[in-house]
Symmetry: C2
Subunit: 233 residues, 2 copies
């Protein structure tokens, strides 16, 4: 039996990383006069990691990191109009129509008939709330939890607050680091749906293929049958 | 009888606007070569308001607005090192030690003995979580709600989620627009503690002095006696 099925949002319900990759492409073009492409990618990544603790996740943090990286990479030569361009790119990321994954609606509709559904997502509060509204999926979810990080403690606190037993809780997501391992660590269950583009920071975790603690499927359309198997009977 | 006493955080439990004012002072100095002081203040304010919908509240949004305003005010002449300076100022805002208001600890300790306490604050999720941790006040609060806006609907949803009757709910804060009026609108009770520095956007609301729906005190030290009077007996 399962009480609650929780979903990560970015790159689990809708595409997100594609947008970051596209904007990074624009960023690389903009900086190509100053540095080779791999130096641009590396400096941007290092700047993002260094800023994680102060600025956290999301589009605004990404914008500030791009601006800092542009200043570093250009040796302070980047003109103000290019900085403005970076801010405009960030704003466009917040306004781009959401692209839902295939099968999302059918899967949520099917599962919502028999389970309480939850979203657990990290990032900017306003940004994530707005995306959930724009997705038109909000009505499927009994609970929405927007968190600044996805650690075992954060999951434990959410489950305690809603009085959900870990063994009756299933988390579905595309990140081993954020969606799968911390949930297993507190005795919950997890379904991993790998995504072909996942931010390298989210991948930086040892994946032990012998670890049998979680399920893996190729796409959301396969989830209702798996949940039936995991939870049914 | 009152079940829950909720507090706004910024400029109610600890100083926040002082920090924004200090950073704006640095910003004005930086731009003084390009424009007179009142034009700088006005452009920054207009940029912040225009960005509220996309970027929301908090330090990261403020940083992006300062950068945009600097580009506008300098006609695109602002050098990259000044943009970096703005980002460093934003980072320092997130790292500055919190300055609690007088009486905060005694008041929370006294009230926590007889009531459940809550924080309801808007802004960046990570930023507000970090501040609450750094304040060392977190243990006084049974609930912490970080929201992207403070509308009657948002307050209603919080009360419903925690099954609190509006007439047994008291909100304490420094903003008529965000802390007092929306709570009165859903039948709750409110205590207004004016702050000498309040962002002009938060003041842009008609204050009807004949309106008797809320209490007003000068500082937090007076709250336990007022709560006794409002809720006791």
């Amino acid at each position: 039996m399962c009480d609650v099925i929780a979903f990560d949002a970015d790159d689990t319900l809708w595409h997100s990383e594609t947008m970051y990759v596209a904007v990074q492409g624009e960023f690389k073009k903009m900086l190509s006069a100053y540095q080779p492409e791999d130096a641009i990618a590396e400096t941007l990544y290092q700047t993002e990691i260094r800023n994680l603790e102060s600025f956290g996740y999301g589009v605004k943090a990404f914008a500030l990191s791009m601006i800092e990286a542009a200043i570093t990479l250009s040796g302070g030569q980047i003109p103000a109009r290019d900085i403005q361009r970076i801010i405009d790119l960030a704003r466009s990321m917040l306004e781009t129509p959401l692209e839902l994954f295939d099968h999302v609606e059918d899967t949520l509709k099917a599962l919502a008939a028999s389970h309480r559904l939850m979203v657990i997502t990290k990032g900017d509060l306003l940004d994530q709330e707005t995306k959930l509204k724009r997705s038109l999926l909000a009505d499927y979810f009994t609970y929405v939890e927007i968190v600044s990080d996805k650690t075992p403690e954060v999951y434990r606190a959410i489950l305690e607050r809603h009085r959900i037993a870990p063994e009756r809780f299933v988390m579905v997501g595309n990140s081993l680091r954020s969606d799968i391992l911390p949930v297993l660590a507190i005795g919950g269950r997890a379904v991993y749906i790998p995504y072909h583009l996942t931010w390298s920071h989210e991948l930086s975790v040892e994946h032990d293929p012998a670890h049998d603690g979680y399920y893996e499927i190729e796409h959301l359309g396969l989830l209702p049958a798996l949940i039936e198997e995991m939870c049914g009977g």
